[in-house]
């Protein structure tokens, strides 16, 4: 102890009241804190908790699973499986060269693209890849890359791929229908997403599940009228025919003549709905429904049916055909097989333009127009399908004689393949026209009598002649069955002029004694050895009808025909227009 401290001690006097006062003030402050805490945590807590809810409670959407699309026998054509979307917060992502390599290989992306995703672009949020299978997403998450997250959803898969592509269509990344049945039945397939209230942290992760606001309502399943087996056959035949005939495109429709159900609907070119990169518009088009074409001779039966219906002719009435040539004003109509006269049945069998035109000109234009309209031409078939085409039938008041004449054999009028197929059901079903259906129906719907049963039978008999050796389409015969049908070969119109490109078609049904199936085939721009409907579309019909009849176990109605041989296509022997 030094002197300074001693002298200080003499003067220093720590007064007790000072420390007591100070301690009291300090303890009072602590008491104030306790009081404030009680106010905040007890009495004011409700308000504060409410504010907290506003800050971090969020409503999140619970995706509803989409309905399954099945064929008429329950085979799945479109199913939803759980999938993950991988997204990244660009600011937080940090990955080593090794992780980057692993990530790229797991996601089947190249490193450049991956790098572009993570470092290019604006904003912090970026999808690395959407619709990733859960097991792949799991492997990716196992890399434990900071800033990488997954989001649950559903992936739409199409087990039949190309075969049903145009019919079933597809959905977009947000699970909404974009094409085909997926779009047509979006409202019932799509279901209703649910909602939950959750608490999220500031980075957006759910840390607490509070309550369910709305339970997700899954979409309804749909059973189509289509039979996947017939669809498979139709697709195979069509693809084969397009290849053999070096055609641009083609379409096939198979109908159940008794119910109006669509049993198959195939188009080519096609695409894989499971991998839709690099799609072109041509691949996407559902030609059978959205495209129209000038049908050509497949229209003749409707012209003849009109004349029979009004009693103008009978099947045996002889029509003068002027040596295969007829002049109307400055226009000349020609037949490929000149004859001086043909019966009405022979007009169909040999597909005589002059004969059809002469019959058409003997009828009032309004009567003809009524027939065309009655069987559905010029109106959309109301399948509920996206982009359905209605075709074009000009008002009869504007018809000039030459137009009425050419329309009788299918020029100057446009139809879609499915319209044409439906119209032909009147000859298969005693003159009754039924609505078409894409979904399976339990009982045949009510139809409308368009022509009398007698007329229908008479035309059917004529159509049976078409596949006889003297007809235009012996290649469309089916072993063991009676077949009725009609060929069509039409020049394509481009810029208002007829070109040397063709659309070859065939529409027919079987068994002719008690029709069950109707098949319409259209081949666009065949450029192989032949371009005639009988030789190009006929064999497609024959093969498909034969295998489908067998598949469905429909008994043959012409067992005696089993010995015939399918003649090789000879354009000179069987021509039509």
């Amino acid at each position: 102890m030094n002197v300074g401290v001693n002298s200080a001690r003499l003067n220093l006097r720590l007064e007790g009241w000072r420390s007591r006062l100070l301690l009291t003030v300090l303890l009072a402050s602590f008491l104030g804190l306790v009081g404030r805490a009680a106010w905040l945590q007890g009495f004011h807590a409700g308000f504060l908790q409410q504010k907290g809810q506003e800050r971090y409670s969020r409503v999140i959407e619970m995706p509803a699973s989409r309905g399954i699309i099945r064929d008429r026998n329950g085979q799945p054509l479109a199913i939803s499986t759980p999938s993950e979307s991988l997204w990244a917060s660009r600011e937080d992502v940090e990955l080593s060269a090794e992780q980057s390599r692993q990530l790229a290989s797991l996601l089947h992306m190249d490193r450049k693209e991956l790098d572009q995703r993570l470092n290019g672009g604006r904003g912090n949020f970026v999808y690395l890849k959407r619709q990733v299978p859960p097991e792949v997403a799991q492997q990716v998450m196992a890399l434990k890359i900071p800033g990488l997250f997954q989001q649950h959803g559903f992936h739409r898969a199409y087990p039949k791929g190309e075969e049903t592509a145009h019919l079933v269509g597809f959905t977009d990344a947000d699970d909404r229908g974009q094409e085909g049945v997926e779009l047509a039945f979006q409202s019932s397939l799509g279901g209703l997403s649910g909602a939950r209230r959750v608490i999220k942290d500031r980075a957006g992760h759910i840390i607490e599940d509070v309550e369910s606001i709305r339970v997700p309502r899954p979409g309804k399943d749909i059973t189509l009228s289509v039979d996947a087996r017939i669809q498979h056959l139709a697709y195979r035949e069509l693809r084969n025919a397009v290849a053999v005939n070096k055609a641009k495109a083609g379409a096939v429709v198979v109908l159940d003549t008794r119910t109006g159900e669509v049993l198959a609907l195939a188009n080519y070119p096609d695409y894989d709905p499971n991998n839709r990169e690099h799609l072109s518009g041509a691949q996407l088009r559902n030609r059978a429904i959205t495209d129209t074409f000038e049908p050509g001779s497949t229209m003749k039966p409707f012209t003849i049916a009109t004349a029979l219906e009004v009693g103008k002719v009978t099947p045996n009435t002889v029509i003068p055909t002027g040596g295969g040539q007829m002049t109307i004003g400055s226009n000349v109509i020609r037949d490929t097989h000149p004859a001086t006269a043909l019966t009405v049945s022979e007009v169909i069998q040999h597909s005589s333009n002059v004969g059809a035109a002469r019959i058409a000109l003997s009828l009032p234009s309004e009567t003809l127009w009524n027939m065309f309209t009655d069987v559905g031409f010029g109106q959309t078939p109301k399948l509920g399908f996206p982009g359905e085409a209605g075709g074009r039938v000009r008002p009869y008041r504007t018809w000039k004689p030459i137009e009425q004449a050419t329309m009788s054999y299918g020029n100057g009028i446009s139809v879609s393949l499915i319209q044409l197929a439906r119209a032909y059901t009147i000859f298969a079903d005693d003159g009754v026209l039924k609505p078409l259906s894409l979904t399976r129906i339990s009982a045949p719907p009510a139809g409308r009598q368009v022509i009398s049963p007698q007329t229908a039978h008479e035309v059917k008999d004529m159509l049976e002649l078409v596949v006889k050796p003297e007809g235009t389409a012996p290649a469309a015969r089916v072993r063991g069955y009676r077949v009725a049908g009609k060929t069509g070969t039409a020049h394509k119109v481009s810029g208002g002029r007829y070109t040397n490109r063709y659309v070859a078609s065939f529409v027919g049904f079987a068994p002719a004694s008690a029709p069950r199936l109707l098949i319409a085939v259209m081949i666009d721009e065949p450029s192989g050895a032949s371009y005639y409907g009988g030789t190009v579309a006929g064999p497609v019909f024959s093969n498909l009808m034969g295998s489908t009849l067998q598949l469905l176990g429909i008994p043959p109605d012409d067992p005696g025909s089993s010995a015939f041989s399918v003649p090789v296509a000879k354009p000179t022997a069987s021509e039509d227009t």
Binding site: S7, L12, S19, F30, L33, A37, L40, Q41, L48, D92
Partner: protein, 385 residues
């Protein structure tokens, strides 16, 4: 206080209750720092996304603080008094060094850290302790002049003005407030003329008001603290989230680990706003328990001081009570800020908040408090301290 009538105190050579209180506070701190920092550590690139980043460091800091505290306990109070001016001078040098670019590290707009090879030091945390020592020594040395404005008050005022100037350059307004309170309280306890003290209080009040009004950022903090809900997503963001944490905690808390506010909503959850996380997870009960531990600590510091005073160990007495004032003021200000009673300061919760310098300085100071008590007990037993 009549220590001689309390035989309990003689049972042990040390104040075990105080020691356990300090250890309890450190333990709560480690647990709550871990709980409060998991989410932010996991989301932060600087921590390498390791959730235990702050927890591990806090453990290391506490261990280092206990080692430092054990060492400090071995130093006799006499030595502390002898070296008080030297330590104070060293502290001043530290406050100057942080302001030198290259040496001082800037975080969130403040230069408070000295970047040394392996660790960052925060001189202002140690300076609080040195101010206690210096003010106590000063008061003892100037005991004769405690009634004089010129000789008793002005020298201390000038020294503190220098400290304040350096601290405001960082800026570290909170540390300045605490040091000013410590110095003023020790002068007051040392018998500073009460008229002088009133003048001092008035001058300080005017000074602080001027500092606030002249600095837009402090002025804004003051404004928004009055009504944080006027701009809850802007200036009132941090405070409203702290208040929500208290509200969510309710009486009994949402449970350890259950805080939502710490999930990146509440900034500085593991440092300045640790109390809000305690309030949310442990509720009013946890808040009162924490406050009770601090109250006991402060009360004990004053008792130890009074006993030392009764033994005419004036430096020891003023140091003990100065440490009590330090912990009380810093705790009250920190909690007051958390509860929206005071504007945001940037002060940590002693012993609990994350931070190495703070914990080491706190534990060393409390070791000295225990040492003062230890020497008093030795003297009562008739031994030399």
């Amino acid at each position: 206080m009549k220590p001689f009538t309390t035989p309990r105190l003689l049972r042990s050579e040390y104040d075990m209750t105080l020691l356990w209180t300090v250890l309890a506070l450190l333990a709560i701190g480690v647990v709550m720092v871990y709980s409060a920092s998991i989410a932010s550590a996991e989301a932060d690139r600087h921590t390498g996304y390791r959730s235990s980043y702050f927890f591990v460091r806090q453990m290391v800091y506490v261990a280092a603080a206990l080692v430092a505290g054990f060492a400090a306990f071995q130093v006799r109070v006499e030595q502390w008094q002898k070296y008080a001016p030297v330590l104070f001078g060293a502290g001043l040098v530290g406050l100057v060094l942080v302001l030198i670019p290259g040496l001082g590290k800037e975080v969130n707009g403040s230069r408070r850290w000295l970047s040394l090879a392996v660790l960052n030091l925060q001189p202002s945390e140690f300076m609080k302790f040195f101010v206690v020592l210096y003010a106590a020594d000063y008061t003892v040395r100037k005991a004769a002049f405690m009634h004089s404005f010129k000789k008793g008050f002005v020298p201390m005022f000038i020294v503190m003005f220098l400290v304040g100037f350096l601290l405001l350059r960082e800026p570290d307004f909170g540390a300045l407030a605490v040091m000013t309170a410590i110095a003023a309280a020790i002068l007051f306890l040392g018998g500073l003329n009460w008229r002088l003290f009133v003048v001092l209080m008035m001058v300080l009040s005017v000074g602080f008001v001027l500092l606030v009004v002249l600095s837009p950022y402090r002025f804004n903090r003051l404004i928004w603290f009055w009504n944080p809900w006027a701009d809850p997503f802007g200036k009132g963001y941090q405070l409203t989230h702290a208040l929500i944490a208290f509200g969510r905690g309710g009486w009994f808390g949402v449970g350890l680990g259950g805080s939502v506010e710490k999930q990146l909503y509440l900034p500085e959850a593991h440092t300045d706003f640790l109390m809000a996380v305690i309030a949310e997870e442990l509720g009013f009960v946890g808040v009162v328990a924490t406050i009770a531990l601090f109250v006991f600590l402060v009360w004990r510091a004053f008792s130890i001081g009074n006993r030392a005073a009764s033994m005419e160990r004036y430096f020891a007495a003023l140091t003990a009570q100065g440490i009590g004032v330090w912990f009380a003021v810093q705790t009250v200000v920190n909690m007051g800020v958390n509860m929206g009673m005071l504007p945001t300061k940037g002060l940590t919760l002693p012993l609990l908040s994350y931070g190495g310098s703070g914990i080491v300085a706190n534990v060393v100071a409390l070791s000295l408090l225990l040492r003062i008590d230890f020497e008093s007990r030795q003297l009562m037993r008739g031994r030399a301290p």
